[in-house]
């Protein structure tokens, strides 16, 4: 796995949230979903930085919606996972499962 295609921990979280949200994935629900799962406040600036990196890697694509009054006339930016992104998530999952298999003591909570 090259460093260019490697998914970091936060990037993987963002990818999984994007897959879960489907067509409705934009900044606010992405941030909230990560907050609910991790239990800590998430900076939307960091979420956008991760999405920008993922888009540069070709794992995510984005499109701009219509401006709305409750957002001060600003448009939403919707994100979706590309086929290359889905392949990368599966690959990362296999790698992580393989690494976990070698550590049974962690699964039993000994350390």
């Amino acid at each position: 796995m090259s460093s260019r295609s490697y998914l970091g921990e936060f990037e993987l979280m963002v990818m999984l949230v994007l897959i879960r949200l489907g067509e409705d994935a934009y900044g606010v629900p992405i941030g909230r979903a990560i907050e609910e799962s991790s239990g800590r406040e998430v900076a939307l600036g960091s979420v956008y930085a991760a999405l920008e990196r993922l888009e540069q890697k070709g794992f995510v694509s984005s499109s701009v919606g219509d401006p709305t009054p409750e957002r001060g006339g600003r448009a939403k930016r919707y994100f979706r996972v590309t086929n290359a992104g889905l392949r990368q998530v599966r690959k990362t999952r296999q790698t992580l499962i393989g690494l976990w298999r070698g550590l049974p003591q962690l699964e039993r909570g000994r350390i």
Binding site: Y26, R32, L44, S46, P67, E70, R71, R74
Partner: protein, 217 residues
């Protein structure tokens, strides 16, 4: 602290200081603020967006960052030579009364650093094959502003800091401690100030993107 509207200053800072962020982030923060109604949350989000934007821009301007780092090392060592010269003259008795003495001392300490920085700015522009008088002048103005801010802060805090450092290192002289402070404590702000000056001389990422869009039409 809860509000019905987000702090105006924070919104202004987001719009003007968060490099590389688009309207979508500002819209998301406004939308989410309607649910949270927390000024503290909004401020944290804005400051983080500014920090993330700044670190991204540093990554894009890596040539400027490397050059600024190398040039600061050169400048600080040159300052060392100048300061030693000043000390030598002081020991020989070449001093004046106040206020000429402080003007002489500050001029001797600051002006070579300015000259070195401006030489560095010109050299950087020439290396990037982007030298124009307008860009150089912009860099000079930013460097003067940043340096004055830096030295102003230094003059404000140095008395208190030196007292604490002298108490911690009783075997060293005040002059030695002060010199070491100039060398090391101000390396980081000096680096940032020079980096900002260098970045100000060249078109920003946003300007380059706009030019690309104009050219593609």
């Amino acid at each position: 602290m809860s509000l019905s509207k987000p702090p105006a200053l924070a919104t202004w800072m987001l719009e003007h200081l968060a490099l590389g962020s688009d309207d979508a982030l500002a819209g998301d923060l406004l939308e989410d603020f309607d649910h949270r109604l927390s000024a503290g949350w909004y401020w944290r989000q804005v400051l983080m967006a500014i920090f993330v934007g700044f670190t991204k821009e540093i990554g894009r301007q890596w040539r400027a960052a490397v050059f600024a780092f190398a040039w600061i090392i050169v400048s600080v060592n040159a300052l060392h030579v100048v300061y030693q010269t000043y000390l030598t003259r002081h020991m020989l008795g070449w001093t004046s009364d106040w206020p000429q003495s402080i003007i002489f001392a500050m001029g001797l300490e600051i002006s070579p650093l300015f000259l070195l920085w401006w030489f560095g700015l010109a050299l950087y522009l020439l290396m990037m094959r982007s030298f124009t008088l307008a860009r150089f002048a912009r860099g000079v103005i930013v460097s003067v502003f940043c340096m004055l801010l830096m030295f102003g802060t230094y003059l404000l805090v140095r008395g208190t800091v030196i007292r604490h450092v002298v108490a911690a290192f009783p075997r060293h002289t005040t002059t030695w401690i002060e010199f070491e402070m100039i060398r090391f404590i101000f390396l980081t702000p000096a680096f940032l100030a020079l980096l900002l000056s260098l970045c100000a001389t060249l078109p920003t990422t946003a300007m380059r993107r706009a030019a690309r869009i104009r050219n593609s039409k």
